[in-house]
Amino acid sequence: MRTIYLDNAATTKLHPLVRKAMSECEEDGFGNSSSLHSAGRKAKEKLDLARETISKKVFAKNHKLIFTSGGTESNNFAIKGLALGSREKKHIVTTKIEHDCVLNTLGFLEKYGYKVTYLDVDKEGLVNLEALENAITKDTLLVSVIHGNNEIGTIQNLKEIGRIVHEKGSVFHTDACQSFTKQPIDMEKDNIDLLTINAHKIYGPKGVGALLVKEGLGLEPLLHGGGHEYGLRSGTVNVPGIVGFSKATEIIGEREIEHMASLRNQLVKGLKDIDDCWLNGPEVDSGKRLCNNANLTFMYAEGEAIVLYLDALGICVSTGSACSSNTLKPSHVLKAIGLKQEQSHGTIRFSIGIDNTTEEIKYTIDCVKGTIEKLRQMCPYKY
């Protein structure tokens, strides 16, 4: 049976061009980029080139790009590194729809006396700029706001948020793992001080990411050792992975974005016919939504059951249902946009990839309709 992979927000498949670049690097750039000899220098050249390529992609001028093991490490490093490096300010502002690796890092800092303000979002998942402005005080060390939300696809207005954060004299961090290469990011114009990006959401390898750090921020490293990455992140540098990351930044362009958006729109249009079903997050044509994200609630069907029935038909999607999580807690993002628990149980995220086709989406629409009908026949009553 063929697999229709519609979970590209979870991870993507390594692109052949990325694999080729990585494999070439494994061959002629395998050296330790810290070594003095030719093998080391070759690796160092590739590392420098990758750093430059990725920095240019986000118009970084006065920023250091630090390679990390991925989004989780970059977010941990941005928040903990800044907290450790700045002793005075003890307040952090964030939103209720951040990724767990931001929320749990902040929860960790709360144990050490930091105060965290978790901003509400509206029905579409957007932060209220006035509330943001009011939340920032003289004691605010950092404002961390996710750029493209991983569940409902909401894109925040970086430029406005960055402007407010800087006017109020704080530091701006954004987690752009979902939006990187799909949405324009300009470190200077958007007033971004700390930017988290990674490779495996854009057809690059897993285990590779980066944090861009504004000059002079004074972050403390989390990993101490041989002083790699400007002394901010020690450990022999994963040059082949980084070369793959760099190549991956070239995969999604205008054409790919248009392709994914058009398939996403086809999917949403097809599924909206279903009774008691709706799209969560901003409308598809609002310009406030990631091009490949669709998040829908199907009442009277449970998410894990939907995922597993679709899986049996070859379709890979994910759910915001508590029943599929390790904690049995429903999605905090769906809660933040006002979904009741009984609604979030029936919520499915579809995330389109560059290789999906119209036929696959058509098949998916038919399969989802059949699956929802089958599960609703099993449901005892409507509530």
Partner: protein, 145 residues
């Protein structure tokens, strides 16, 4: 989360005895939409040759995850043909065991089927003007005896 056993997946993909019994002798309604699982167990009670009341027919309707649907399907198989007294003794552990186990996190939240069956039996008894059976704390497996 831990993967489901083959048995769970079989019972989830092709549940047995899904549906309603019109004019059921008793209906057990457990769970709620907030926690994500709702299970209704329908039973038809009749007497066997020796005059014992047995679960002649049993069906279910369930909203919930794979474990909720699989345990519903399994309880109908375990209870069918049993005397009410024996059916009442079926425990969560029995259901899980018959499914070759459930992921630990699902043992309690989605393993409602034995509660649903007990509720159905008591619904029947109460409708008959009789005393409901008492919920005793689960211990051991009634299938082992």
């Amino acid at each position: 989360m831990e993967n489901y056993s083959k048995k769970v997946m079989e019972n989830f993909m092709k549940p047995k005895n899904m549906g309603e019994i019109k004019d059921a002798s008793g209906v057990g309604k457990v769970g709620n939409p907030v926690c994500g699982d709702i299970m209704w167990i329908y039973i038809m009670v009749s007497k066997d040759k020796s005059g014992n009341e047995i679960v002649k027919d049993i069906k279910f309707k369930t909203l919930g995850c794979a474990a909720a649907i699989a345990t519903s399907s399994m309880i109908t198989e375990l209870a069918k043909g049993k005397t009410l007294a024996d059916a009442y003794k079926i425990t969560k552990a029995d259901v899980a065991k018959a499914l070759d186990g459930l992921p630990p996190i699902k043992m309690h939240c989605s393993n409602l089927a034995s509660d649903g069956l007990k509720a159905a039996i008591n619904d029947y008894l109460v409708k008959q003007g009789r005393k409901p059976m008492e919920h005793t704390k689960e211990a051991g497996s009634s299938l082992r005896s």
